[in-house]
Amino acid sequence: MSDLLQLENVTVRFGGLTAVDDVTLTVPKGSVHSVIGPNGAGKTTLFNTVTGVYVPSEGHVRFEGRDLGIPFRLRTIALCAFVALATALFAVLAVNVQTIWEQAIIANYIYQQPFPWSKAMGDAFVSLSTLSFYDGGLPLVFGFVVGGAGTYAVWNASRLTPDKVAERGVSRTFQNIRLFQNMSVLHNVLVGMSGKHRTRFLDVLLRLPRYYREERMATADATELLDFVGLKSHSTEKASALCYGDQRRLEIARALASQPRLLLLDEPAAGMNPTESESLVELIARIRDRGVTVMLIEHHMDVVMNISDRVTVLDYGKKIAEGTPLEVRQNPKVIAAYLGVEEE
């Protein structure tokens, strides 16, 4: 089994608080890997780091051997240069629009006479090239700098964002359910397929055949997923109308819709009764059998111990133990973190 996800010395700090402290772990392909720990141990922060909600202060997150997040490429420079030039041009035109208009349009246009277009173009260029430094050069430089720097800043901030991570094949559910409450169950799953759509804007606007084909296929896939989690009969209901356990299942279906290779489940069994969590364990096993690697945060130890191949234990942001469920259960450090140690 090769490694699907690798965290190397990942540290996440919020101001003075170190939420995740130097965590290294690997998740092999096809496994179920649990992350447990007391409240506030940094488990959800770890998930948020993997999905790109937070950028690690230190360390690397590698998925399928490559860093998540877009590398700096030639295209980035081209983009920045293009926007910088466009902004510079816009700034110059905005400052001098009246002058140019006067010299190119008003000077050449005689009422209801044919308009000499090429002469007007020439005059516009002359008018542009004879601008003084304050009218021409300054806005040009200003626009170039602002446009270029702004584009670079925006690009840099969007290097590692959840939508890009989702497109790479990492999907997740949330600790406190975050469904699109006012959309139908089916539409929730369809939104999960967002990254897979290939139709163009015009296909959608004019409802070309390609649109219908894609929509039909997406609906079929979504219905299959709803069947998989056992919600097929609820597909037209509003998501907020589902009962709690079903909302959890819908979140899983929505997350699976993007055909992820890694699925992060953040406390999927929270608030479930023993019967429900048993069927959840069975669902997770079926997800694993589909070839999706599962990473799991969970407090229900019966769920964790039943399904996990490996367990990582976090406490105060540090990894204190890792191993098979059995090993972790007997680890004195883990027992101490959960139950406390007697003072000597």
């Binding site: 009246q98 964002t161 939508d163 406190n176 699109f180 409450q181 939104v191 967002s194 139709t199 959608v204």
Partner: protein, 347 residues
């Protein structure tokens, strides 16, 4: 509302709109009701544009009038014979839509990252800046004179300048129907779903692979292009862009009222909202004024006796009543039911 009932609603609305001039001409000649529907159609297009931004995507835009002004002035510059361009009606309208979309992108690119009230303030400021710019770019926009006269279009062999209002009525109705159809296509598609998902929960939408900036920018610029189209039609219909002050904050607020009263995210609702709000203004209030004047009750002295002066009071009252008793609007949308947006931090 179920799908069949919605389709019935569309069919009834369309049939009523098409038949209205004939029914009126037959039963109540001289009432002038259908004539007054032309501004309603234009405000319905504005409402549909704003509906994409506010209704689906949940971005509060208070600068709709600015995009309308951009559309009106672009149309004016492209068609008026004091400029060399002198395009035909259709090509000028198409160009105006493109200009509006570009203006939406130019404003949207830096502003779209702001949330809620902050975006509203930026769009409000944009509305004021556009007015000032149009007033001060005198060599181009003729300042406070406005651009006029604009040539009246001649389409399908019909001269729009002739005495009858019918050509304009049907042209505007046709454009409104096309806009409604296209907006509906977008609403019931991955694009509409993405907009609604971003409005419902931006972080969750992001984690599902939606780029919220791109989705919002698309909504913003589509909305702007529709408002720009409405501006072009407005200028063409009046034969003048009017002065820049015509596109002030009040227009933006009226359009917002149209969307909120009609039903956010509901196409049929927005169109009904336009009929109710704008129709109230141009039909009920002006009719009342005429009546009072004829009865000799109305005098110029007493400002309270002029029905038109009660306009904003009544608009405000309508808005308060709707948000209190029917927050989802007169015709709530099928998928969308507005609830107070909850801000959840973190995951």
């Amino acid at each position: 509302m179920t799908r069949t009932r919605e389709l019935q609603g569309y069919a009834i609305a369309l049939a009523l709109a098409v038949l209205l001039p004939f029914i009126e001409g037959f039963a109540f000649p001289g009432l002038g009701l259908a004539e007054d529907f032309r501004p309603i159609f234009i405000f319905a297009i504005l409402g549909l544009g704003l509906n994409i931004i506010v209704g689906y995507t949940g971005l509060l835009n208070l600068g709709v009038a600015a995009f309308m002004a951009i559309g009106a002035y672009s149309y004016g510059i492209l068609t008026c014979d004091i400029y060399p361009f002198q395009l035909s009606f259709w090509s000028a309208t198409a160009a105006t839509i493109v200009v509006g979309a570009l203006a939406g992108v130019v404003l949207g690119l830096p502003a779209i990252r702001l949330h809620g009230d902050y975006l509203a303030i930026v769009t409000l400021g944009f509305g004021e800046i556009v007015q000032d710019a149009l007033r001060n770019l005198e060599t181009i926009t003729k300042g406070t004179q406005g651009i006029n006269p604009l040539p009246s279009p001649r389409l399908f062999g019909v001269d729009f300048q002739s005495g009858s209002y019918l050509p304009w009525y049907f042209l505007l109705l046709f454009i409104l129907c096309s806009v409604a159809l296209l907006v509906r296509n977008l609403e019931r598609s991955r694009i509409g779903r993405a907009w609604i998902a971003v409005r419902e929960d931006e972080l969750a939408a992001r984690c599902m692979g939606i780029n919220p900036v791109r989705a919002k920018l698309l909504a913003f610029s589509l909305g702007a292009s529709l408002c720009s189209l409405a501006g072009a039609l407005w200028a063409s219909y009046l034969g003048s862009t009017g002065e820049p002050g015509n596109y002030d904050f009040q227009v933006s607020v009226i359009v917002l009222c149209v969307v909120m009263v009609g039903g956010m995210g509901s196409i049929l609702g927005v169109m009904l909202g336009a009929v109710v709000m704008v129709g109230f203004n141009s039909i009920v209030l002006s009719g009342l004024s005429d009546l009072l004047a004829r009865q000799g009750i109305l005098s110029g002295e007493n400002v309270f006796a002029v029905p038109g002066n009660w306009k904003y009071f009544i608009f405000g009252l309508a808005l308060i009543l709707v948000t209190r008793y029917r927050p989802e609007g007169l015709i709530p949308s099928r998928v969308v039911k507005i609830v107070a947006p909850k801000k959840a931090k973190g995951a």
